[in-house]
Amino acid sequence: MRAFTYERAPSVEAAAKAAASNPEAKFIAGGTNLLDLMKLEIETPTHLIDVNGLGLDQIEPTQEGGLRIGALVRNTDLAGHGIVRRDYGLLSRALLAGASGQLRNKASTAGNLLQRTRCPYFYDTNQPCNKRQPGSGCSAIGGFTRQHAVIGTSEACIATNPSDMAIAMRALDAVVETVKGDGSHRAIPIADFHRLPGDTPHIETVLEHGEIITAVVLPPPIGGRQLYRKVRDRASYAFALVSIGAVIQPDGTGRIAVGGVAHKPWRVEAAEAELPKGARAAAGILLSDARPTDHNRFKLDLVERTLGAVIAEARG
């Protein structure tokens, strides 16, 4: 870990301004992903702006009937919040499927959206990685790729986004609210927030440098059976091989977002239209352009079968 200077930001605007003025600055909230990566010098900020004291830890109803979740709300508190449990069960379920109790106590809502891939080649600084070191090549391609993406990949990167929470946010059409270094605000639909790797896999979101997430806003509840099914080798404390977040309405329509398959939460509205016909039809469209490797081809079957189980559970 490289040496860095440290400040506790007094306000959101000051934090954004301070970050914008220093290209090597990073915000730190829970720190559970950033410090992990800093120890390995995958992240090498020379200045950390601690945003924990900014009061962004409230969960409040919005005028539209939705919910505004402060960026600093811890995963445990979000998952355990009464309104979330009642009206956004998918979000609660997704959060609780992730990490461990200790990590959820620290990890923040914004940080969860920004967590980086768990590709082992990204984590091993001896190996070429376009995400870690643009232009160096992708050592995952042709290597051990059981965990990797099957769709939306590029010649530069086949990493997945590891977040469970983001799958729920994607299915629930959340909106990410930010403040930029110049003090301006914007609202980014979650669909536009994460990027596919293309030839710039090191750029994972549409955030600008210095732009700080202040809240994530959920639209009014949409009802339905809300399920999150995470499939993994061990029963807990593991990243998903595949995960499915679903909201299924009594008439069989609904929404699905899939984790463990792509560089971003994977949702295809055209596939959702096929939901009433069953998992095979929906999965066929969802993964129609998939380019799996020999190691992860099983994910295609797994998505379809898991989706089938989710639909059956929603109906049952």
């Binding site: 080798d233 061990r234 807990s236 379809e304 189980a309």
Partner: protein, 735 residues
């Protein structure tokens, strides 16, 4: 003490302390965080420095140059020592790969430098500044590809020959009415003990003191002295608490070597711990195997012919994973052969991990037994009972010292409700396909000399000193129980000091021999102390009784505290082993029963119930012995369902080299576990009449799970770990 005749009745048989469910005497230290592990020794007056290791970035080749200029200039840096600086070092007797020194890179993450700084943070940051110029060489990393070039290695002294044959296997197999011929694979596995390898080294002139995390004090001491080129007598090694080993701390590791070089260069004590992401490739691992098993049986279910061949790989000069061992002894059959071949692989050093040989061997053999039983339309429990043998099948004149595999199977089947087992794929509970599986457990009982010193002081306290280690096995407690029993004291009057090279050399912790051998050594030392006490008091040592803190002879009795006198009394001895393990085959036995559920949609396998029944001689402490077994069962769950060091066969390293990527079981994977110990003693094994259970508990577990998954799904997976991708294509349609 020479142990060359079966044990007669002795003071241990009183079982006033030995055999009792006594809680660990180190339990309060461990649960309050007061037990001090290697990296934690601290003297407020000593300025420690921190060493951070640098691992090789290539798997095979040569180091042209190392640029340490930036590292040396970094804040707080006291010294940088590179593998080029120290040059070629002599290698320890027990190491295959060199730990440090010279320009050759033999495997990924091999230690090539240590950066010493005032703080851990400074050392870690400076280590990232070391720049290395390599000449990369092509290596072999794929066992499947290297298999055909594998060779028959020369038999090592004291070890089994690579090839064995009795009768005429080929003919008997060819004529057998029911046959099986299948190939199984087991992956590379990692010990993943929770405490990373760690050492503190402190020089005082030419004397070196090292706190480390070692299962085998004397092996480490010898090999560290050899590696550093110093006199063994100048080296003081201590390892009183060890945060797990499982074979990964049997042999000297790089942390101790780097700490010693770093401390020399920095001129002050240096602490080095291996960073977790370095461990899998820097240290040893259980090598992958490819195993072919052939079994020919008569229609009566009796094995006529059995063959087990195994291929594994290691670095040049390395050894076999002896996966065929158990097949020479576990089942009857007149015609039999085994063979092992060794391929050269340029991965990290393969070496012992808990139950080396038997663990992967039984992962394969006990699936094969399940398969042949099914072909015979026999219950696999009954098949195993039918093919039991009470003698060494290769040498029928040589009996087992004690063997109750049948008892384990029968008791286990009854207790587990084995009769509920149905046809494959027949039982369902909601979305779960339910299956039961069984496997035999088998592990040889090894006998290693073990010494101890026992001191009685004027307070009536008995203090045991031995370089034996407690890696979580319960050595502290069973040693205290042994001394208490021998001297007629409550356990509170016994102090136990372990893991110090100033103490008599013990068996150490490995091969499940530690419990039996180290307590036998303590027994021997206590016999000496009893004699010294009797002699001092002028008692006839034949009729003297040690009871209730007193020593009695006839109608005379003296308090032990009084007998000790102001100078105290000492007994010291080493247990030495005669030929009882040659005249008799000494082994431990068990049966594992498992119930699994397999998710019908996803193929995720989860354990629902587990039972182990063990026949392993006298159980010295049912609490700690049970913990050994449930822990081993847990490791077997990992081996069956998730553990695999994934090899990047292009650049030659284990890719998933941390605890996120290499998935060992977590709480949620493990149900309530049951263990039953058969009530038995083995007078051939030692004066304690005990054997080991720590490795037995792992042997066969993974195969029982594999068999249960087959019973649940009807899908036979012969390649571990049994992950959902290997099942999903064969599961029923759910859409």
């Amino acid at each position: 003490m020479q142990f060359d005749t079966p044990a007669a009745t002795n003071p241990i048989d009183q079982l006033k302390v030995v055999g009792r469910p006594i809680h660990r005497i180190d339990g309060q230290l461990k649960t309050t965080g007061r037990a001090m592990y290697a990296y934690e020794w601290h003297d407020p007056n000593t300025p420690y420095a921190y060493g951070y290791p640098v691992g090789a970035a290539i798997a095979k080749g040569r180091i042209k140059s190392i640029d340490v200029s930036a590292a040396k200039k970094a804040p707080g840096v006291l010294a940088v020592v590179t593998t080029l600086d120290v040059g070629e070092l002599k290698k320890g007797q027990f190491n295959t790969a060199k730990l440090f020194g010279g320009d050759r890179v033999q495997h990924y993450h091999q230690a090539i430098a240590v950066v010493v700084a005032q703080t851990f943070e400074q050392a870690r940051a400076a280590a990232a500044l070391v720049r290395v110029d390599y000449v990369v060489e092509k290596g072999a990393f794929d066992l499947e590809k290297a298999k055909d070039s594998a060779i028959e290695p020369a038999a090592k002294p004291g070890e089994a020959p690579p090839d064995t044959a009795v009768g005429d296997f080929d003919a008997a197999f060819a004529s057998a009415p029911v046959t099986l011929d299948e190939t199984y694979t087991t992956p590379d596995q990692s010990h993943c003990m929770m405490e990373p390898h760690a050492s503190i080294a402190a020089w005082n002139g030419d004397k070196l003191t090292v706190w480390t995390s070692s299962q085998m004090i004397d092996w480490w001491r010898s090999d560290l002295a050899t590696t550093l080129g110093i006199d063994k007598e100048k080296l003081h090694l201590m390892s009183p608490f060890i945060g797990g080993g499982f074979g990964g701390k049997l042999f000297l590791r790089a942390d101790a070597v780097l700490a010693a070089f770093g401390a020399k260069a920095a001129g002050r004590p240096v602490k080095v711990a291996l960073p977790r992401p370095l461990m899998a490739n820097n240290t040893t691992h259980r090598p992958a195997t490819i195993q072919r098993i052939r079994i020919g049986a008569g229609r009566d279910g009796r094995i006529a012919a059995i063959a087990h061949e195994s291929w594994s790989g290691d670095l040049p000069g390395g050894g076999l994973e002896t996966a065929v061992n158990q097949t020479r002894l576990l089942y009857a059959g007149a015609h039999r052969m085994t063979a092992m071949r060794l391929a050269t692989l340029d991965l990290a050093e393969g070496n012992a991990m808990r139950a080396p040989g038997e663990a992967p061997g039984l992962m394969a053999l006990e699936i094969a037994i399940d398969e042949i039983a099914e072909k015979l339309d026999m219950d696999p429990v009954q098949f195993r009972i039918l093919n039991d043998t009470q003698v060494d099948p290769e040498n029928p004149k040589r009996p087992f010292s004690h063997r109750n595999l049948i008892g384990c199977l029968e008791v286990g089947a009854e207790r587990f409700g084995w009769s509920q087992r149905g046809r494959p794929g027949a039982r369902r509970d909601g979305n779960w396909l339910i299956g039961l599986g069984v496997a035999a457990a088998f592990r040889n009982n090894l006998l290693i000399p073990s010494g101890a010193r026992v001191r009685l002081d004027r307070e009536g306290i008995v203090t045991v000193e031995t370089d034996m280690t407690d890696i979580g096995t319960g050595s502290y407690t069973i040693i205290a129980q042994t001394a208490a029993e021998m001297l007629g004291l409550p356990i509170e009057k016994v102090a136990v000091h372990l893991g110090d090279s100033h103490f008599p050399v013990s068996a150490g912790s490995g091969g499940q021999f530690g419990g039996n051998c180290s307590t036998a050594g303590v027994y021997a030392a206590c016999v000496k102390l009893r004699e010294a006490i009797a002699q001092k008091l002028g008692f006839n040592s034949d009729d003297v009784v040690f009871e209730n803190g007193e020593v009695r002879s006839g109608n005379r009795s003296v308090r032990l505290a009084e007998a000790a006198g102001s100078d105290g009394l000492v007994g010291e001895d080493t247990i030495q082993w005669g030929d009882l393990s040659e005249t008799h085959q000494q082994s431990t036995f068990g049966a594992h029963f498992v119930e699994v559920g397999v998710d019908v949609a996803t193929g995720e396998s989860r354990i629902r119930r587990m039972l182990a029944v063990c026949a392993a001689g006298r159980i010295l402490n049912p609490i700690t012995a049970r913990s050994q077994v449930i822990g081993a069962m847990t490791m077997g769950v990992g081996g069956a369902l998730s553990e695999e060091l994934a090899v990047d066969t292009r650049s030659g390293f284990f890719v998933n080299h941390d605890l996120a990527g290499y998935e060992v079981p977590v709480h949620a994977d493990i149900p309530h576990q049951e263990v039953i110990f058969m009530d038995e003693t083995d007078p051939m094994s030692s004066p304690m009449k005990a054997k080991g259970v720590g490795e037995l508990g792992l042997c066969g577990v993974s195969a029982a799970i594999a068999n249960a998954i087959y019973n649940a799904t009807g899908i036979r997976v012969r390649h571990y770990p049994i992950t959902l991708d290997k099942l999903i294509g064969g599961l029923p349609d759910v859409a």
